[in-house]
Symmetry: C2
Subunit: 230 residues, 2 copies
C-alpha cells in the first residue's frame, strides 16, 4: 500500500478526534492512531482512544507518555479546579484555564517524528476554530505555520520523499456539524469520552466546558448522545 | 527582574549549547536551563548539562524525560552502530544516522511550553548551520518557521504579554569560532561532553562525528581541549 494511503491521526478518544479519524478512514487511509498520556486526571480518555482505534481497525495505536505537569499552568494537569457551568459566551471570550501550554505544538511535534519514521504525509488533528475559539493552537493560521515549519524540519522532507500535510477536516465545523458528519460515516459515539472532570465511576460531570459543548452539539444535531444521556 | 532578562536555554552539556548559554548570560539574562533525557545510550550528557547549569548559576535546571525510542530511526536512540572516522565531507553530504526525527522540533516545543509558563521571550538553542549541515532542523529557515509558528501558538502571545524569540547566536559560526567565543566569555569546556559513543569509563571515543568535529574545532581555534586531550 502506498504511503499516501497511510494517515496518522491524533486521538483523544473524544468526539472531534474520533470524527477526524472517521474522515481519514473514509478517504481510504490506513489508520495510525497516536494518543498521549499527559498527566490527565483520569485514564478514561485513553481507554476511549483505544476503543476508537480498534473501531477503525487502526494498524497501530501508540500512547506516548509525556509530563506536562513539570511546567504547571493548566487545570487539565494541575490541581486548579475545572470551571463548571460556563456559558458558551464565556468560553469564546476567555482562554480557558483548561488550556495546556503549547499542547498541540508538542502533540504535533511527536506526530511529525512518527510520521517521518513511518513515511506518512497526512497528519489528522481534530481541531475546530468554531465552537471553541479560546485555544490559540486551534486556529487555521497556527496550523498553517506548523505545517510550513514541519516541511523544513525533517530528513524525509529534505530528501524529497515526504511532504507533510496537517489535515484539519473539522476546522470550520460546529460541534453539531461534526457530529452529523460522524453519524453519516457510521461513528459509534458511545465509545467516546469528553468530560474533563468525570466522577470516580466514570460518569461525565455534565457541567465542564467539554460536557456543555458536547451536549449543545448533540442537541443542535438533533441526535441523542449514546455516551452521555442528557 | 523583568521578563526580558530571563532566558530559557536548551542544554545538552556539549560545546555548542554551553557556549549559547554563556552568550545568554553575557547579555545579562537569568538562565533557565532545559535538558532532555531521551533514551541516550549514556547519562554523561545529562551530568555535563547539570554541571554547566551550575557553572552559569542557572535559576532552574529542568530535565524532561521523553522517549524517542518508541519511534526508532536514529543511532543515538537505537541499536544502530554509531559511524566512526567519517570525513568532514561525508558529514556535510549525508544526513547522519545520528539524526533523531523531529528532535529539535520536539525540544523547542517543550521549551515553548515552559517559556509560556515562566513568561520568557528568549529561547536559546545552540544550533549551527556551518560545520554540520546534515541536520535539516539546524538551518536558519527552519528556525524562522518555528519562531513564526510559536508566535501563533500560545496564550501569552495571543494575550500580547510575550513574544517568542528563538535565539541562535551560533548559527553562522564554525566550531572553532564557537570555541573562541566561549573562551572569551570564560567558559570552562572541561565540564562539557560531546562523544556519541563513550567508553564505559566515560572517555570519549575520539572517532564519532561529534568527537571529530570537536577535535577539529579546538585545533582550528588553537586551544587545547581540557576535556578530551588530542
Amino acid at each position: 500500500m502506498d504511503n499516501q494511503k497511510k494517515a496518522l491521526v491524533l486521538s483523544s478518544g473524544g468526539v472531534d478526534s474520533t470524527t477526524a479519524m472517521a474522515i481519514a478512514k473514509s478517504e481510504g487511509h490506513e489508520i495510525y492512531s497516536l494518543s498521549f498520556s499527559y498527566g490527565q486526571r483520569h485514564s478514561l480518555e485513553l481507554e476511549s482512544a483505544l476503543k476508537v482505534a480498534r473501531f477503525f481497525g487502526a494498524v497501530k495505536h501508540l500512547v506516548i507518555k509525556i509530563d506536562l505537569r513539570v511546567f504547571g499552568g493548566s487545570a487539565l494537569t494541575d490541581a486548579i479546579e475545572v470551571p463548571k457551568e460556563r456559558s458558551a459566551k464565556d468560553m469564546e471570550r476567555d482562554i480557558p484555564v483548561t488550556y495546556v501550554p503549547a499542547r498541540n505544538t508538542i502533540f504535533l511535534s511527536y506526530a511529525l517524528a512518527w510520521a517521518e519514521v513511518l513515511g506518512i504525509s497526512d497528519i489528522f488533528i481534530g481541531v475546530t476554530a468554531v465552537d471553541y475559539s479560546g485555544y490559540p493552537d486551534c486556529r487555521p493560521e497556527y496550523i498553517e505555520a506548523f505545517e510550513k515549519m514541519a516541511n523544513l524540519a525533517t530528513k524525509a522532507v529534505v530528501e524529497g520523499t515526504t511532504r507533510i500535510r496537517i489535515r484539519t477536516p473539522l476546522i470550520a465545523l460546529s460541534k453539531a456539524d461534526i457530529i452529523r458528519r460522524g453519524i453519516q460515516l457510521g461513528v459509534d459515539y458511545s465509545i467516546t469520552h469528553s468530560c474533563y472532570d468525570p466522577a470516580p465511576d466514570g460518569r461525565a460531570c455534565g457541567r465542564c466546558d467539554s460536557c456543555i459543548l458536547r451536549r449543545k452539539g448533540f442537541r443542535e444535531a438533533g441526535i441523542a448522545d449514546p455516551a452521555q444521556p442528557a
